[in-house]
């Protein structure tokens, strides 16, 4: 059976098709201001790409912040369950998941059977989220995609001490004014995220092996900083950004 997962996040929307549990195709697009339209659009695109029609799909689950606005989905499931299911799909050994999303970071601990045991999400604050990185990329005028590679070249990561995104941004601006190297600033930003997210994850007690999921996992600098802060190696799948959507498509094959 074909199943679909639609993950409407605050920044990007992801869609995945599975056939009898086998990965068929995934797709990523910007969410924009209309979550419902974003979900609908990406679903149509992925069907078209696969040469399929909607009635070929036996089950659809929506997840992410816009999960309740995806009217064509059979049901809505939270990111917590979907990231957990997606992580186990990608790597059956995983016992903990850390996801840095657009406006939410989460840490999840699974039991041996892959069921969610407990989870934590960041408090109402953009620090330690994907949005934080976006703000910093803008301040530095650096393409966010280059952040990972650049930070790995840092000799001496700068120290960013503010917890608040707005204050941290002004710290970054004064570092720029002082002539600090970009690489060092970026590495400092990653360390700041790493310590913030690891504090939340540690409170929960991470059980290895830990997987980092979500789009931010593409940034090798964050993965390194977070792994260091947690003192644990992090597993990252090439399909990290699609994890939530994969989990949704996987769960869609199961009865509620």
């Amino acid at each position: 059976m074909l199943t679909a997962g639609i993950d409407v996040g605050s920044i990007s929307t992801k869609a995945v098709l599975l056939e009898d549990g086998r990965f068929v195709r995934g797709r990523v697009a910007f969410t924009g201001y209309n979550a419902e339209a974003a979900g609908r659009r990406i679903f149509e695109e992925i069907l078209q790409e696969s040469g399929l029609t909607e009635d070929a799909v036996g089950g659809i689950i929506a997840t992410g912040y816009g999960r309740k606005s995806v009217s064509f989905a059979g049901r809505a499931v939270t990111e917590i369950l979907c990231h957990a299911a997606g992580a186990r799909y990608l790597d059956a050994e995983i016992r903990s998941v850390v996801d840095i999303g657009g406006q939410d970071s989460k840490a999840i601990v699974l039991d041996a059977d892959g069921r969610v045991k407990t989870f934590a999400m960041n408090d109402k604050c953009a620090a330690g989220t994907g949005r934080f990185l976006e703000v910093m990329a803008r301040a530095l005028e650096v393409d966010l995609d280059l952040f990972g590679a650049l930070s790995l070249q840092a000799e001496n990561p700068a120290r960013i001490s503010s917890l608040c995104t707005v204050f941290a941004e002004s710290e970054v601006i004064s570092l720029i004014a002082r002539g600090e190297k970009r690489e060092n600033i970026i590495a400092g930003i990653h360390e700041s995220i790493g310590s913030r997210v690891s504090a939340m994850a540690r409170r929960l007690g991470m059980v290895p092996p830990v997987m980092m999921t979500g789009g931010v996992a593409k940034n090798a600098g964050v993965v390194q900083a977070l792994g260091k802060a947690l003192d644990l190696p992090l597993r990252v799948s090439p399909q990290a950004q699609l994890t939530g959507a994969i989990g949704a498509a996987f769960l869609a094959a199961r009865p509620e």
Partner: protein, 409 residues
Amino acid sequence: MASTGEDKRKVKAVKKMKDIMTTYYIEAKTAAQTGRKVAWITSGGPVEPLLAMDVIPVYPENHGAMIGASKMGVDLCEKAEAMGYASDLCSYARSDIACATVNGGPIGGLPRPDMLICGNNICGTVLKWYEVQARYFGCPLFIFDTPFCHTEFNDDMRRYVRRQVDEYTAFLAEACGRPFDFDRMKEVGRLSVEGQRTWQQVLDTAMNRPAPISAFDAFFHLALIVTLRGTQIAVDYYRELLAEMRERAAEGIGSIPNEKYRLLWDNLPVWYRTKWLSEKFASHGACLVADTYTSAWCGSLKYMDENDFLGSMAEGYSRIYLNIGVDEMADTVAAMVDKYGVDGVVLHSNRSCKPYSLGQYDIQRIVEERKGIPSLMIEADMVDERAFSESQIDTRIDAFMEVIRNRKN
């Protein structure tokens, strides 16, 4: 069908409660005309001696809850911030301080106080808050200082607080211009204990499955044990409510239509979102069957002696939920988990209330370990809506209920 189902779920006592509270506030607001004195008092403050002297007690915190519930908190908090108060200050304090200057809020402000009674058994914020108000209104302030009970209440503490009870009765005699009425005090003390006992029995009906009363109901019915504790009115009301709840329990009528999961709530309500939250949980078949907040007004019953109220109130007012160590708080929560058959704990990390929110991560961990049940932390504020993010809380509750459902199945 559905409508009859909802009709039977309506609590009959609600109407009566509204009438009682209206009468209470009218009486308080017309005190100057009727020649009675008004005291402002903190929510955990020793109110009984006021009643013995026929002083009308008024609660800025109850008023704060009304401001929050009528969604007037943000305006008043912003006003206080414009006056120079930090946005980190408790939103009850901010709204009260601002409200006093404009007579705003849902009832056009509280009546002018003749005296202020401040018990610091709930927090340190109230000290400065009441000092500010004492200066503003130019009226006397009595501070009832209860030492923090980390692990015990020893004889030094007892003597220290007991002496203040005497100072308090002397203060009232002075403020009212007549000797303290010890005879009347006995009666008030007895009624106070009786009221607390009955309130506890009301809360205990939630042990039934389904629970006829939820924490959200209790947030509403709580008003009298706070404001009219020590009066016959409160005793009568809670007896009636108790009878109604027992009847509902016997008939199997739950507070929510389809109770599948039972949760415990920690910290103050989110006053401007109680309806949203109760419907949100109910949509998952979850009833909040117990909470640490409403039970705080009967939590120290075990220390009270109804035949020696003034003597025992030193301990009773010191050992309340917010004035004890985290270990004892965790013990209290764990005991409630057992008593009410709770499947999960929801903790409101309340930006305003530091003493309530400070130990929550530890309490969460202890209860999770000891009771093996999951818990959820949501961040908000009881009055200041700016600290509430609907989509984030929505996701957290959905995810939490998924975890609970998976565990129970």
